[in-house]
C-alpha cells in the first residue's frame, strides 16, 4: 500500500495534465494529449497508456 501511495503522490504532481504511463512510471507528460502522444512516439516507448490526471478532489460523475 505504501508503494501505491507513493505512486499516487508522484502522479498527483501532474493534476489536470495528460500523462503516459508504463506500469506505475510516468514516461511523458504535458498539457495536451497530442503533445504527450508525440513525445512517446518520438521516444519509441511501447506499452504505454494515456491518462488525464484528475484534480485532487473527490469526484462525482
Amino acid at each position: 500500500m505504501e508503494r501505491d501511495k507513493a505512486y499516487a503522490k508522484k502522479v498527483h504532481k501532474y493534476a489536470n495534465q495528460w500523462v503516459a504511463l508504463v506500469g506505475q512510471s510516468v514516461v511523458a507528460a504535458g498539457d495536451s494529449l497530442q503533445k504527450v502522444q508525440r513525445e512517446v512516439e518520438r521516444k519509441g516507448i511501447k506499452n504505454y497508456v494515456f491518462h488525464r490526471v484528475p484534480p485532487p478532489i473527490s469526484l462525482a460523475p
Binding site: 501505491d4 484528475p54 485532487p56 473527490s58
Partner: protein
C-alpha cells in the same frame, strides 16, 4: 483479467478507484489509442473526452447528439461507433461511445457497451477487481 485498484491522492486522503487500460479504435481509419479509463457502473454509456476523439480522427459533432446528465447538470455529447478492447485481451467489441467535454475525466466505462460485454467483479476489500469478456 485481474486488476489492482488505482490509488489516487486527494485533499481528503487517498482513494482507490477501479481503472483499466482500454484500447479504443476508430474503425474508419484504424487509429488506436490506449486510455486508462474508470470503470463506472453509474455511467449510462462509455464516455470519452473530446481530446481522445480528436486523437482518433473523429470530429465529435458529426456523431448523433445525446444529452448526458450528472451532478454538474446537463451536457450535450455526440455518439460515435468505435471498437474497444481491454489492453492485452483478445476480445474486441463494437460499441457506441459518447464524446463530450469531461472536465475531470478521460474516459468512463459505463453500462451500455462496457457492462453489456464484460463481467465485472469488485473486491475492494482485497484492492482488486476482475474484468472478464462475455463469451
Amino acid at each position: 483479467m485481474k486488476f489492482r485498484y488505482d490509488t489516487r491522492y486527494t485533499e481528503h486522503g487517498f482513494e482507490m478507484v477501479p481503472r483499466i487500460p482500454v484500447v479504443f479504435k476508430n474503425p474508419r481509419n484504424g487509429r488506436e489509442i490506449p486510455i486508462f479509463c474508470l470503470v463506472d457502473s453509474g455511467a449510462s454509456d462509455i464516455l470519452i473526452t473530446t481530446e481522445i476523439a480528436l486523437a482518433l480522427g473523429i470530429e465529435a459533432k458529426q456523431g448523433k447528439p445525446r444529452m448526458y446528465g450528472g451532478v454538474g447538470g446537463e451536457v450535450k455529447g455526440y455518439v460515435h461507433t468505435l471498437a474497444m478492447k481491454v489492453m492485452n485481451d483478445k476480445n474486441e467489441f463494437t460499441i457506441e461511445c459518447g464524446v463530450l467535454p469531461l472536465p475531470a475525466y478521460d474516459g468512463l466505462l459505463g453500462q451500455r457497451g462496457f457492462f453489456d460485454n464484460y463481467k465485472v467483479t469488485f473486491e475492494k476489500y482485497k484492492r482488486t477487481f476482475e474484468v472478464i469478456a462475455r463469451k
